[in-house]
């Protein structure tokens, strides 16, 4: 959809690009003026070199999303391919049914839709290896897919790529009760792993709203963050090993279960967060923390953003080792949740406050943690940091607090069109961006700010009744430039996918991106794994 809408502004910017070229601006000057323009500039030059008659694939200056063209070097499916897959995987795992394809071609936000004609559901790593070996030899593009809950269009095809969905590989291979190391296949749903571990007295080190559908392979491939990162750290620290299949079908068995292993380059980190573009993760070995018996959660109201910040500093100091989550949402987010979700009520009495903070502590001694939390909250209240708050008295109340925070994305979906941005910013500056955006957008749309304040991660969302280019123009590239200016990340945890494939220069230097391109070329020379995503399109040409 967005691709089509971009066409007119594309033509306009194309003209300006060509005009600038004709006035012979040097490449170096361009690089200094606008780093973000580099990709298109190179592309134009390449096109002219190749003598291509086709117009530019996509713009870069205008604030509209990318227009991508299908890479002509990829083959299209033919009946022989289908029969090969059927013979390899069996009839049931080769799906061409329209209705099922419709679902897997569309992302969770219904913003991106591909036109894949084939869905494969391998059940073993060997099958995945064979699939990729074949696709590589035939130059068929492939999209690895898990729970399809990604928010940047990275889990669905752009054109007719073959979808390889790992949902059928959902076995738990082993669990060591002493060390807490879990080894499982990539298609295990996160919530199922959480339940399994619950019976053993352990928990997963990550937790996110999508846990009912997302799969651990996808979580690892996207280096998912979530609600507990402030306590347990990122997946780079918790994943002890993984097994991945490369584009040519080669199997990399790095499924170690060792806490310490300094033998050679630690390649697994390449796959964690590369969003399926370097290889398909088929098994994961992850270190799980023990389940601690005492969980306490408080829902607090603060007058202004600087109180939220100071509260965070105090929490880290006074709650220290028991702090396990620190989330915030502004009053607009709370409004949205109360209006659009059923069975949700504001834990705090009548008067609406400006900011809400959710603090969770996890420890091993109920009364000790309780006292610590109450003492901290009492002093915060006396110090004026907190204007009101409640502490959950039982698990039901605790779940209702989490429902509010985890329900914001859902409420946003129900409210209409939503532009989602996931940014890492210095904590003092975080809310300034939200205020800025509010001023910029005025009556055009509603701006909502919420997120993992404990990690400096803001989820900036703009909600409107419908998608409208006028709104998008005001948001992009302003948001990215603002973030870049403060040396923040334009994608804290959501990844780049298709949505931000060309935006990486806002947060990474050209040399770094060039090296990433070399690695991609090394591991996937034909570029069949999740094409058009993650890295700028110019790197492929």
């Amino acid at each position: 959809m967005e691709k089509l809408r971009a066409t007119s502004s594309l033509r306009r910017s194309l003209k300006s690009i060509l005009n600038r070229q004709l006035s012979s601006v040097s490449e170096t000057r361009y690089l200094n003026e606008k780093r973000s323009c580099q990709p298109t500039f190179n592309l134009i030059r390449d096109h002219r070199n190749l003598g291509e008659a086709n117009p530019i694939r996509y713009r870069c200056f205008s604030s509209v999303s990318t227009v991508v063209q299908r890479n002509p070097s990829f083959s299209t499916l033919n009946p022989d391919d289908i029969s090969y897959f059927k013979q390899l995987l069996g009839e049931k795992s080769v799906i061409q049914d329209e209705d099922r394809l419709e679902t897997v071609n569309t992302d969770w936000m219904h913003k991106y839709k591909g036109s894949s004609k084939l869905l494969l559901q391998p059940r073993t790593t060997e099958e995945v290896a064979q699939i990729l070996k074949y696709c590589n030899s035939r130059r068929l593009a492939v999209v690895p897919q898990g729970g399809n809950t990604g928010l940047v269009g990275g889990s669905v095809p752009v054109f007719d790529e073959v979808i390889v969905n790992l949902g059928s590989m959902n076995n738990i291979i082993s669990f060591d009760k002493v060390s807490g190391i879990l080894v499982c296949e990539a298609g295990c749903i996160l919530e199922n792993l959480i339940s399994f571990l619950d019976n053993q007295g352990f928990i997963m080190p990550l937790d996110l709203g999508a846990k009912g559908s997302c799969q651990i392979g996808g979580n690892v491939s996207t280096n998912a963050g979530g609600l507990r990162l402030v306590r347990y750290g990122s997946l780079h620290g918790n994943v002890l090993g993984l097994e991945a299949v490369l584009a040519n079908g080669d199997l990399l068995d790095m499924l170690g279960t060792l806490r310490k292993d300094n033998t050679g380059y630690d390649l697994k980190h390449l796959f964690i967060g590369s969003e399926g573009s370097l290889g398909i993760v088929t098994k994961v070995s992850i270190l799980t923390p023990p389940k601690l018996s005492s969980e306490n959660i408080a829902f607090l109201a603060c007058r202004d953003y600087s109180s939220c910040q100071k509260l965070l500093m105090e929490a880290k100091r006074k709650l220290g080792e028991i702090l396990s989550a620190f989330e915030f949402l502004d009053i607009q987010a709370m409004d949205l949740v109360l209006n659009h979700l059923d069975g949700v009520r504001n834990p705090l009495p009548a008067t609406m406050h400006n900011f809400y903070v959710l603090i969770e502590t996890t420890g091993s001694d109920e009364s000790y943690d309780r006292e610590k939390l109450e003492a901290f909250l009492l002093s915060s209240m006396e110090g004026g940091l907190v204007s009101d708050g409640v502490i959950a008295q039982d698990i039901n109340q605790a779940s209702s607090f989490w429902r509010i925070r985890e329900g914001v994305p859902e409420a946003l979906m129900k409210a209409g069109a939503v532009y989602k941005y996931d940014l890492s910013l210095p904590v003092e500056k975080m809310y300034d961006l939200v205020d800025d955006m509010r001023t910029r957008l005025g009556d055009l749309a509603r701006v909502i700010g919420y997120g993992h304040l404990g990690d400096g991660n803001l989820h900036l969302n703009v909600s409107a009744a419908q998608y409208d280019d006028k709104i998008l123009e005001q948001i992009e590239p302003y948001v990215y430039e603002w973030t870049s200016k403060h040396r923040g990340s334009i994608s804290a945890e959501h990844g780049l996918g298709l949505m931000k494939a060309n935006k990486i220069y806002y947060s990474k230097s050209p040399e770094t991106v060039k090296t990433m391109g070399s690695i991609k070329k090394l591991l996937d020379p034909n570029g069949i794994l999740n094409p058009y995503k993650v890295l700028p399109h110019s790197l492929n040409s």
Partner: protein
């Protein structure tokens, strides 16, 4: 008027319970405990009545080992004025609880006694009815709506019964046990939690109240319900009829 609310400390409603390996009961070590949900509703109702001006004081009562005090603190944090803790080291059966409550009622003289309809750990649904019997007070159980009339000293209670709703008119003093739809319990706000720290909790022992706790009931065994067997997919109607006839014996 004073209102007395009995609350019980039970395994939290949302916890996945497990049976102890020796089958003597449910695992309660290291498991989250909270106030019984029906007792929360009872306390909420009492607080509502006090806030509407029809009562002067709400007293929360709990019986059991020393950690019952946590539950009483929650009650005080919700808004109760005072609390009473009856120290008892063993599990108490409903009849014993009712006898103890009778003694406390004689000491405190409340105009209304509100309890949850049942506790979620034993599902007995007996205490309210027994105490009403021992005191000779009228009872309105499974209340889904309570309306007070101060002048006439009467409570109109809507009861949720199998056939629908039954409305009773009770002369005070009376016993009311609460059902799920009566109200939505409030959260314990920070200011109230702080205030609760200074509210008094009076302790009684069993000897002081002079009640014998010999129980006529002994729990012999606790087992899990049988696991659900997987279903079978049948391929024809004939097979279905055969199974219904020969395996399930229903036709």
């Amino acid at each position: 008027m004073k209102i007395m609310v009995a609350v019980k400390r039970v395994v939290d409603y949302a916890v996945k319970i497990r049976v102890k390996p020796d089958k003597s009961g449910v695992e309660t070590q290291n498991v989250k405990m909270s106030m019984n949900p029906f007792c929360e509703i009872a306390l909420e109702e009492a607080l509502k009545i006090k806030e509407s001006g029809l009562a002067k004081e709400v007293v929360a009562v709990s019986m059991g080992p020393s950690n019952c005090v946590d539950t009483l603190r929650t009650g005080l944090a919700m808004g109760a004025d005072r609390a009473i803790h009856v120290e008892a080291s063993r599990d108490l059966v409903p009849l014993t609880v009712a006898k103890l409550l009778k003694k406390l009622v004689e000491i405190e003289n409340p105009g209304l006694l509100i309890l949850g309809k049942q506790a979620i750990d034993d599902d007995c649904n007996q205490t309210g009815q027994m105490i009403a019997g021992l005191l000779g007070w009228p009872q309105g159980t499974f209340a889904s709506k309570v309306v007070f009339d101060k002048e006439k000293q009467v409570a109109t209670v809507d009861r949720e019964v199998d056939g629908g709703l039954e409305t009773l008119c009770l002369d005070l003093p009376a016993v009311i046990t609460t059902d799920l739809r009566l109200n939505q319990p409030r959260y314990a706000t920070l200011p109230n939690i702080m205030k609760a720290k200074s509210k008094p909790i009076k302790k009684f022992t069993l000897e002081e109240l002079n009640v014998e706790i010999k129980s006529d009931i002994e729990v012999v065994q606790v087992t899990e319900p049988p696991k659900r067997k997987a279903g079978v997919i049948l391929s024809s109607v004939d097979e279905l009829i055969d199974k219904l006839k020969n395996e399930a014996h229903v036709i």
